[in-house]
């Protein structure tokens, strides 16, 4: 976006929800302002911007944090002041190690900022150490520290020494639009990792066209045309082990596409996928059907294909899906892998994550019939041999409970995300954290429900995995709590864009549908109405 385009975007923008944030940078922010407002408008948001006075970043870091979200645009000299071009070259040589140690202290201050996101501009730095090699170590060290903060790295080309000398703004006029796009995109980016990676097969999982060239004509090994496909596969294997669900869609016949997976020669095996779909339906229809059967949100899907027409078809039919082109050149592979890693990255990997593919495969095989209701449903569920194990996680390992609370969108009472330390504080104050594990005749579904009950009896967090919807786990859980004398009195409810399944739950007897805030919860009445649910489960406590 250039300057006049930004003006026109703003002129035609009728306004949208506020996007309030502080752009924290040591340089002059004003040239960026119109571009940030225009970029926010492109996302239908009205930017409400605050800036720091010129060159006061360091003072700001020493002050208290406030409620306003902060976006830090960092340059090397924000971490190492001696590297600031505007102050010239220090008379004596400086040591890279000392400078990096000081930079780490600044990073520690930055890390303390709650509600902050970071962007790093890897501008060139002046020679400080007297040794080109050490200067390089210093530059990379500063960058490494910034990336360690979780910073988004901008292109070094965006730095303009001329602009920095002229106005104190480190970004050249020609790059202001691109930088604003990165900043607003980073600010709006969701923390929730994507869940399902859907990949094309021909020219993506392997080189060549399996239907035309046969098993011997395609490439997937670490050599020749198959090399980049091999590397792509190895990343998918790792993602699958970290809990990412993999699916393949291909316009082919099933008997044609399965042999490479069955050959045992590829990094990916058939069991790494929740589904390999080969049909001649549009790819969007294949994905829609799969997502529906897995009970996932469409915006948790990433689709990779080499064919721009297929990508466009999916992007048009399913706008919530993130579409990524598989590169036609080897040079594009690093960017592809970095993007996938960012989209699917998660801080911790639990046993649940590692077993997720198997759980979802089981889900596809033993899905509750969608049309089953009433007596049919009860009969079906009774035949599953379900065991509900309830755990008190108020002490000990609660990693899975925290993860469940923070990534569940649909059956979620209020959408609030909790840090582990916030939960720790609540528990110290007397709250109780309960979870439930479900097992049935097909095996374990893992820990699928989490409930945080405050000391005053308010359920502050209540989430349940969508993979056990329709199994009446929520009924069995609260009936079991009531039987054990645990009787929460209300639920902190907040409607979100995604929690309609929870709103359905609020229509149950003993609850009050449709009211925001604190919803009274008569557990005795609820349990009485759902006493039959207890007959569906073998309930245990630990």
């Amino acid at each position: 976006m250039n300057y006049l385009e930004a003006r026109r975007t703003l002129a035609s923008f009728e306004g949208g929800p506020s996007l309030a944030f502080r752009l924290a940078m040591s340089g002059t922010p004003e040239p960026l302002e119109i571009f940030l407002r225009a970029e926010a408008a492109r996302h239908d948001r009205t930017a409400a911007l605050a800036f720091l006075p010129f060159n006061t970043l360091r003072q700001h870091l020493l002050g208290p944090t406030d409620e306003l979200p902060e976006l830090y645009l960092l340059c090397p000299w924000d971490l190492v002041p001696e590297a600031d071009w505007r102050t010239g070259i220090p008379p004596g040589r400086l040591g890279a190690d000392d400078l990096l140690a000081a930079a780490s202290q600044v990073a520690a201050l930055l890390r303390r900022r709650s509600n902050a996101k970071f962007v790093y501009l890897p501008a060139s730095i002046p020679p400080l150490t007297g040794q080109p090699h050490s200067d390089q170590v210093l530059a990379l060290g500063i960058e490494s520290i910034a990336i360690g903060l979780g910073a988004l790295r901008l292109s070094p080309q965006f730095f303009s020494l001329a602009s920095y000398f002229t106005s104190g703004c480190p970004i050249g006029g020609g790059a202001l639009g691109a930088v604003a796009e990165s900043l607003i995109g980073h600010l709006l980016a969701q923390h929730t990792p994507a869940k399902l990676l859907v990949t094309d097969l021909d020219e993506t999982i392997w080189s060549g066209l399996i239907a035309e060239e046969g098993m011997e004509g395609i490439g997937f090994g670490p050599e020749g045309a198959g090399y980049r496909h091999h590397v792509y596969q190895t990343l998918l294997v790792r993602l699958r082990h970290e809990g990412v669900l993999l699916a393949a869609v291909s316009r082919n016949d099933a008997e044609v596409v399965l042999p490479p997976f069955q050959s045992g020669r590829m990094p990916l095996k058939l069991e790494d996928f929740v589904a390999v779909i080969a049909s001649y339906h549009p790819k969007s229809a294949q994905i829609r059907e799969l997502v529906s059967r897995l009970n996932l949100g469409i915006d948790s899907v990433v689709y990779v294909d080499d064919n721009p027409v297929e990508l466009a078809e999916v992007a048009t039919a399913l706008p919530g899906v993130t579409t990524i082109a598989f590169p036609s050149k080897d040079q594009g592979i690093p960017d592809l892998l970095a993007r996938l890693t960012a989209l699917f990255g998660r801080a911790d990997v639990t046993t649940e994550d590692q077993e997720r593919t198997e759980l979802y495969r089981r889900r596809l095989e033993g899905l509750v019939p969608a049309e089953a209701t009433g007596a049919d449903l009860t009969r079906f569920l009774a035949g599953l041999g379900m065991e509900l194990q309830i755990h008190d996680r108020s002490r000990g390992d609660r990693t899975r409970a925290v993860q469940l609370i923070n990534k569940t969108n649909q059956f979620n009472a209020n959408g609030r995300r909790w840090t582990d330390s916030e939960i720790a504080s609540a528990l110290e104050a007397g709250a109780q954290l309960l979870t439930a594990t479900l097992t049935d005749r097909a095996g374990s579904h893992g820990e699928i429900l989490a409930c945080l009950i405050g000391v005053d009896g308010t359920i502050e967090a209540l989430v349940m995995s969508c993979r056990v919807f329709q199994r009446r786990v929520e009924h069995g859980f609260f009936a079991a709590l009531q039987a054990a004398g645990i009787r929460p009195s209300r639920i902190r409810f907040q409607p979100t864009e995604r929690n309609s399944p929870f709103r359905t739950f609020l229509a149950e007897p003993g609850l009050s549908a449709g009211s925001n805030g604190l919803v009274p919860f008569d557990v005795e009445e609820f349990a009485r109405r759902h006493q039959d649910a207890l007959t569906l489960f073998e309930v245990g406590w630990s």
């Binding site: 300057y3 040239p31 001329a162 602009s163 002229t166 703004c169 006029g173 020609g174 202001l176 639009g177």
Partner: protein
């Protein structure tokens, strides 16, 4: 009017917030009180953005009127 002049007119009017009645091509830094140091910074950034160039600090300081900016751009970009 050339494409360059049209864009430059629009930039000057926007950055300096000039009324429609004001003749933009006679604007000079010494005679237009809205052309302060911040406006100059925004002007240079807008020109860089719109014309895809980078302006060195020495050149930036020499741009004190509409006609000087226009002349500078014609030299940098060649005949429009």
């Amino acid at each position: 009017m050339t494409e360059l002049s049209k864009k430059l007119d629009e930039i000057f009017r926007a950055v300096l917030d000039l009324p429609a009645s004001r003749e933009v091509r006679s604007v000079a830094r010494g005679s237009e009180e809205r052309w302060d140091s911040l406006a100059h910074t925004l002007m240079v950034a807008a020109v860089e953005s719109e014309f895809g160039i980078e302006i060195d600090v020495a050149d930036s300081l020499s741009l004190g009127s509409y006609s000087e900016v226009e002349s500078y751009l014609r030299n940098r970009l060649g005949p429009a």
